[in-house]
């Protein structure tokens, strides 16, 4: 691993982000990344965060038209409430703050505690839980569906609404609509290695893959013999389409888990597109890249979001962040 010691990985990265992105205010000590100039008068602040290791999520999505602040925890470890309290205070213009929380026990508990504390300090807080991962089935007997690729859609679309000046309840309801209209499914071709463990988080022999993985290096629900890109696309598309049954064109995210070469990811996205078309799902917009990653895991995830006219408009709205930028 290209690190100094496991203990300083997050702080080292924050120093690097501060240097590369002068348009962000990076508080290395308190672990908050804030859009320079925040709070923005009259605009709702968007705060997200989670364990590190998913970059560019979330810090790479701070900027105009997306997040106002991000709180990175240790690798794969939810941030602590102090970070979100600090972020909320820094970005609240009086219009309130939306917490975008991926559905993991740790994230939920820490953001909940933060919301209570921030409200005590007079910040109006709304929360949206992202839980798009269809690989988690029997949610009665689990911690519920995980938040994965749809986080990007929620952050982008709610961020666009906030940028337009929508009030907190509207921004929150758009965020919830996006989450409810989104489904994801992920596949790993290799495990990832965390700095703390110093090696792969699970053993995945060459020639096998894991179906239905999350983004924390955990194995999936099922192990299979290696399949072709086209076969994997069929499995992933079946999983999301059967669960969502979209009736309108979708936004499509074909996301790399970190170590999948763009060359392969683009090829896979062509297969995903083919699989969607075969299932009569039309694709309005396609985004391909390593956006919601799992350190150096090889693999990919497919996320679709059924989009109405308004969501399409919000998708096309200007965004200017380190990792996602168009229209300005």
């Amino acid at each position: 691993m290209l690190i100094n010691v496991p203990e300083t990985v997050v702080a080292d990265a924050l120093r690097g982000i501060a240097i590369a992105h002068p348009e962000l205010t990076v508080d290395v000590e308190r672990r908050v990344i804030i859009r320079r100039g925040a709070p923005y008068e009259g605009k709702v602040g968007l705060v997200s965060g989670g364990g590190s290791g998913h970059e560019p999520l979330h810090g790479g999505f701070v900027g105009r038209g997306m997040l106002t602040a991000a709180c990175p925890g240790e690798v794969f470890t939810s941030p602590v409430p102090d970070q979100m309290v600090r972020a909320a205070a820094a970005v609240d213009s009086g219009a309130g703050v939306l917490f975008i929380v991926k559905n993991y026990t740790g994230d939920v508990l820490n953001f909940d505690m933060a919301a209570e504390l921030a409200e005590d300090e007079g910040v109006q807080v709304a929360k949206v839980l992202v839980n798009d991962d269809v690989a988690v089935t029997d949610s009665l007997y689990t911690a519920g569906r995980r938040g994965t690729g749809a986080t990007l859609f929620v952050e982008k679309l709610a961020g666009a609404a906030a940028d337009e000046g929508a009030p907190l309840d509207r921004v929150a309801s758009i965020a919830r609509q996006v989450n409810e209209a989104s489904r994801s499914f992920g596949v790993a071709l290799s495990a990832c290695s965390t700095p703390a463990k110093g090696g792969p988080t699970f053993d995945l022999p060459d020639g096998e893959l894991e179906l239905g993985i999350g983004i924390h290096g955990e194995p999936g629900r099922e192990r299979r013999a290696m399949m072709t890109s086209g076969e994997i696309a069929d499995v992933a598309v079946d999983a999301v389409v059967e669960d969502l049954r979209p009736e309108a064109p979708v936004l499509l995210l074909v996301n790399g888990m970190g170590a999948t070469p763009l060359l392969e990811l683009y090829g896979f996205s062509a297969e995903v597109h083919r699989a969607l078309t075969e299932r009569k799902v039309s694709v309005a917009r396609t985004l391909v890249g390593n956006y919601v990653t799992s350190l150096d895991m090889a693999g990919a995830s497919v996320t679709i979001c059924q989009a109405d006219e308004e969501l399409l408009r919000l998708w096309d709205a200007p965004v200017s962040t380190p990792a996602l930028r168009w229209g300005c």
Binding site: T77, T137, T142
Partner: protein
């Protein structure tokens, strides 16, 4: 039943417990992280180590003078430094327990048991887990039950905590055949079977540290 005098659980007792816990978690961090690897995200050991070492430093700088004050302070620092699921859960456990003790300068095993019971109730409430869900509760609940039994039998603090430590360790081991229903491990469904729960394991270490502290105090 031995005849040693009963050590009072005061601020100093719990500060020594904190010190022992931090040392044990530092030593066992790799094992906990390895347990969190097949059915989790390989961070439980580093989370616990980070939190307890930070709490030892911070609480040691301005040590409260009541056992309730010490537990509340540790809980607060854990919440601010651990992160993950275990941070809020252990933080809540100790804060609730500390609150329950109020500002009494020293307590016996019974009051300690009551305080821990309140704390563990807080964990169940916050995390929504029940016995058998393959979580830290599967070490903590048996520990409380063992304390009940030992107290009913008139045991000393050391004996009560020894019984708790034994039950917690057994409870942690007994998580291996369970299918997880809470936390990250639950995503794996049946594949979570056959692995010991990391949180139950750290709970067992923390209860063992309590017993060790009592034994040393009465030695």
């Amino acid at each position: 039943m031995n005849a040693l005098p009963d050590a009072p659980v005061d601020a100093s007792f719990l500060l020594r417990w904190l010190d022992t816990s931090a040392t044990v978690l530092d030593r066992e961090a790799n094992r906990l992280t390895l347990l969190d690897s097949p059915i989790g995200d390989a961070d439980h050991g580093t989370n616990m180590r980070r939190g307890f070492i930070a709490a030892r430093t911070a609480v040691g700088q301005e040590p409260p003078d009541t056992p309730g004050g010490v537990l509340t302070a540790i809980g607060r620092h854990l919440i601010s430094t651990v992160g993950g699921a275990s941070g809020p859960l252990y933080g809540t456990l100790l804060r609730r327990a500390g609150k329950q003790l109020g500002d009494e300068p020293a307590v016996g095993a019974e009051r300690l048991r009551d305080a821990l019971r309140a704390g563990v109730d807080g964990v169940a409430q916050l995390g929504g887990a029940a016995a058998g869900d393959k979580t830290m509760l599967d070490a903590l609940l048996p520990a409380l039950d063992a304390m009940d039994t030992a107290l009913a039998g008139g045991g000393s603090t050391t004996e009560v905590l020894d019984a708790a430590a034994k039950a917690a360790a057994e409870g942690a081991e007994a998580t291996t055949p369970l299918r997880a229903r809470k936390g990250r491990a639950s995503y794996l469904g049946d594949r979570s079977i056959g692995h010991q729960d990391p949180g139950a394991t750290s709970s067992a270490l923390l209860v063992a540290a309590l017993a060790d502290t009592a034994r040393e105090a009465s030695a």
